[in-house]
């Protein structure tokens, strides 16, 4: 089983987690994809998104358009995403997951993942600090969603706890990015807009 097959499996499982709420829910493809995923598939999905986050934060830091403050924030969040990826990767190995997802190696591959997850924006089209903040908010939203769904699928108590701890941290990331995107007092309500975090 090569990486391409694994990526297809991941995307099919990802569809099972996220497509039910979209306008495609009635399509035959969506019907086929709504079989609940296994724990290994769930871990593969969240790991895939964590690796996309790692790639994205690295690209943003390399872009040279971030202010000193935002650069420090992105550096901090990158560190935490790396910790998430390591922890999830270890769990995936523990449950016997083969061919774990890898971090995107090209901009084109990363842009394709944005498209697959229906995240607005592209890496190629992101040039200013505000663009990076919006893009990261979009990816963090998908991460929140993936963990939210994982909480309903996973049964292992330690894994549930881990997913809960990470989901909470991704929500914190979302808020920190929103605080940077909406820095004035008038925009405070954008920092934590909803009482129930379910992601996008």
């Amino acid at each position: 089983m090569g990486p391409a097959t694994t990526r297809r499996q991941i995307l099919c499982a990802a569809l099972a987690l996220v497509v039910a709420e979209t306008e495609l829910a009635g399509s035959p493809a969506a019907q086929a994809a709504t079989t609940p995923p296994t724990e290994g598939q769930v871990l593969a999905i969240v790991l895939s998104i964590e690796l996309l986050l790692v790639f994205a934060y690295k690209q943003a830091l390399a872009s040279d358009v971030l202010t000193l403050g935002q650069g420090a924030l992105f550096h901090h969040l990158l560190g935490q995403e790396r910790e998430h990826a390591r922890a999830i990767s270890a769990e995936l190995t523990r449950v016997g997951g083969a061919n774990p997802p890898q971090e995107p190696t090209t901009i084109a591959a990363a842009d394709q993942e944005l498209l697959n997850y229906r995240i607005p924006g592209t890496f190629t089209g992101t040039h200013k600090q505000k663009d990076w903040l919006r893009l990261m908010v979009g990816i963090e939203s998908v991460a929140e969603r993936a963990y939210y769904k994982a909480m309903s699928t996973v049964e292992d108590p330690e894994l549930l706890r881990l997913c809960a701890e990470i989901m909470a941290n991704e929500a914190q990331h979302w808020t920190l990015l929103s605080m940077a995107l909406h820095p004035t007092e008038d925009e405070v309500n954008n920092w934590v807009p909803s009482a129930f975090v379910e992601g996008a």
């Binding site: 929140e144 309903s152 549930l160 706890r161 881990l162 990470i166 975090v197």
Partner: protein, 171 residues
Amino acid sequence: MLVGAVVLDGCGGGSSSTPVLQTAPSSDRTVDVEILNRAIDLEFKTVAAYTAGIPLLNGTAAKAAKQYLSQELSHANELQGLVKEAGGTAHQQKAYYDLGRPRGATDILMLLSRLENQQVRLYVDQVAVLSPGPVRAAVSAILANDAQHMTVLRSALGRPPAPTAFVAASD
């Protein structure tokens, strides 16, 4: 006498095209009720803290606190609903909560931050014990929101807003 409860097990809080009926033993529902009522007590204590503390806050902190008060009330209401669905009696807001003697904005922010942290810890510690499906999904959504509150409150206090990658692991 409760002999069991039939619950829908779907995909988290969203709709599922293939819901699966499961029978949850009444002991599981009793455990849910107990944990959810502990959470309700904490949510209402946090509501009381926001209510008492907002007049001592200014500017951005006051604005944020007003929004979070409303969100905490939503959490309490949601949890009460889940308790009722589980066949239990939901705890109500008490007439009095011992909030200590906060004297100014900093004390209030520290109190609120502490209460939000307690909520996050409770949810992280108990989420695996709760019934899968709507209960666990709702608690996950609330837990993440309380973590967001913690971030803003810590930021207002000049503390690292998201110090750990695994929230509640060491906070």
